[in-house]
């Protein structure tokens, strides 16, 4: 893994590197670097398949973190590429021509986070939700409890499930995270 990262560093501009395990590392890269880097990993370094593509909402910093995790089966190692995109204009380059499975992930991200991937097939079609009218639900500023209370009829009489409250009220134990 070390030698691979050293080799990559010579060819590409890499950001901060996290070595999570001996067989798993995460690298932050710029948006422009991503496609050449993925292509290089696939064609020259023997990374075989795209494991997942997902996003993390860092709302405090105004950024979406996109993570592409690619896997090299022969040497049993993974590398995760992180790209930060601005939260207010989330657009990213599609990679479905490198791995066709990426198209599905891109559709999901478009629907669940509102991140656009121009050129990705069926990107504007509804994927999981149907007739969705609110902001994309996986964004941090979408409050699912509030939405669910406003949209659906709730049956009265449901008790709290919060352990801290329960311990305070029934066992007399003070403290708790809330």
């Amino acid at each position: 893994m070390r030698t691979l990262l050293a080799r990559l560093k010579e060819r590409f501009a890499l950001g901060p590197i996290t070595e999570q395990r001996p067989d798993l590392a995460f690298v932050t890269v710029e948006r422009e670097t991503l496609r050449p880097l993925l292509r290089h990993l696939r064609d020259a370094e023997g990374f075989t398949h795209l494991v997942l593509l997902t996003a993390v909402d860092w709302i405090e910093e105004g950024l979406f973190q996109l993570t592409w995790l690619v896997h090299d089966r022969r040497r049993a190692r993974d590398i995760g590429l992180r790209v930060m995109v601005a939260r207010d204009a989330p657009v990213m380059d599609a990679v479905h021509d490198l791995w066709p499975t990426a198209a599905t992930y891109q559709r999901e991200l478009k629907e669940m986070f509102g991140i656009d991937f121009p050129g990705s097939p069926r990107i504007d079609e509804e994927f999981i939700l149907e007739g969705w009218v609110d902001i994309p639900p996986y964004r941090r500023d979408f409050d699912t409890l509030k939405f669910s209370e406003e949209t659906f009829e709730h049956r009265a009489g449901r008790g709290t499930t919060d352990p801290a409250t329960h311990m305070r009220e029934h066992l007399g134990i003070q403290g708790g995270s809330k």
Binding site: T18, R21, D23, T48, V56, R73, T101, F142
Partner: protein, 387 residues
């Protein structure tokens, strides 16, 4: 090796479909349809008996797990993760627990690691038994489903005496497992395994040596071997194409390095090969359970000490943990931000690629009566696609 993708993107050999020509018919298979695995649907365009296009539609089972997990503390997430995938819930528990342990730096006691492996192998057998029943049922061999569901019930009984629940066990939690094995478990387990082996011998005779089954499955739904990596195919679907992809061997986890087994490999990569790989893999799992029961430590702690779960905070970090479930590579991508709640949890189910991109690629050109069987043969479980 990976030239497949570029070729696919560049040339689409199929002629455009003009629906108003009267030559084509659009059919929905699912969600209310007996020939579909779980609650999903395929939009088929047929020309006579031949399917020219298939689009999968998912989302009928979407509960927003990844959002709900962000609202729950680390220990509150634990009871809901198993609900992500119904027929084989234990993998969710294991992957979540392993990811949390890695990020929080918790050591798992030796005995808990053996019990976890035992549970995962039991779950694998359950899942394969459901698959065999479904695959045979798609061809009208209803009796196979009766047999496999019966022996699956016996395995659920073992689960019940060990964990207290039939389907959702909630047994593997971060830090270890809830408890050891009950008294007399080994003996009853050995009986169950013998019963399953007896049934599997019958299944082999009635299903795998059946002329109808062979005719309907040989050479149908072939996954070309060069598509395996392009589409990210894992598990038995890839092993039936001759590739020894098995996370248990490639990235050994739990106690798999100490157990003796070889990945089961097929060659033809058609529906028959995939069914056969799963049947033989089931027998491997039976053997693994026997090895585990013979060698596991019988005393010692099953849980390590956790911090106070009400104040439990995990430092900022991210990781990906994978395991080999009955359908392929199952993984959890967990991001923490130093608070008491996970920042993001992404579930990577193998069905995600198998039932979406791969199925859409395999459907054109098949006979309409083979679509249901083809879908079953990829062994997809919709709940892990949409979560």
């Amino acid at each position: 090796m990976t030239a497949g993708a570029d070729v696919l993107a560049a040339t689409d050999p199929r002629p455009p479909i003009d629906l108003s020509s009267g030559k084509y018919l659009k059919l929905w298979q699912g969600p209310q349809h007996p020939g579909i695995t779980g609650n999903m649907s395929i939009e088929l365009t047929v020309c006579g008996d031949e399917v020219v296009e298939g689009k999968t539609h998912v989302g009928y089972l979407h509960r927003g797990f990844e959002k709900l997990m962000e609202r729950r503390t680390f220990i509150q997430v634990f009871p809901i993760v198993c609900r992500v995938c119904v027929p084989e819930p234990d993998f969710n528990e294991y992957c979540y627990a392993a990811a949390i342990e890695e990020l929080a730096g918790i050591e798992v006691p030796e005995r808990a690691r053996w019990i976890r492996t035992l549970i995962l192998e039991m779950g694998r057998i359950n899942s394969y038994l459901m698959y065999l029943g479904g695959q045979a049922g798609a061809f009208g061999l209803g009796v196979i489903g009766q047999w496999t569901t019966h022996v699956r019930d016996l395995m659920l009984d073992r689960f019940e005496e060990m964990t207290g629940a039939r389907i959702y066990h909630m047994f593997i939690l971060p830090g270890g497992v809830r408890d050891g094995l009950p008294d007399g478990f080994d003996r009853r387990m050995a009986e169950t395994l013998r019963e399953i082996e007896r049934t599997m011998a019958d299944v082999e005779n009635v299903m795998f040596h059946n002329a109808v089954f062979k005719k309907r499955t040989r050479g149908v739904g072939v996954i070309p071997v060069d598509l395996v990596d392009t589409y990210g195919i894992t598990g038995p679907n890839a092993r039936a194409a001759g590739l020894p992809n098995d996370v248990r061997k490639d990235h050994p986890y739990l106690v798999y390095p100490e157990l003796r087994f070889e990945p089961v490999i097929g060659h033809e990569s058609d529906m028959y090969a995939r069914a056969d790989v799963r049947r033989r893999d089931l027998l491997v799992s039976i053997d693994l359970i026997r090895q585990i029961l013979a060698r596991m430590p019988r005393s010692g702690p099953t849980m390590s000490r956790l911090p106070n779960v009400l104040h439990w905070k995990i430092p900022r970090g991210e990781t990906y943990v994978r395991g080999e479930c009955s359908r392929g590579e199952y993984g959890y991508y967990v991001v923490t931000d130093g608070s008491g709640y996970p920042r993001r949890i992404n579930v990577r189910g193998p069905s995600y690629t198998h039932a979406m991109a791969l199925l859409e690629h395999l459907i054109p050109g098949t006979n309409i009566s083979d679509v249901a069987a083809l879908m079953v043969s990829l062994h997809t479980y919709p709940p892990e696609i949409e979560r």
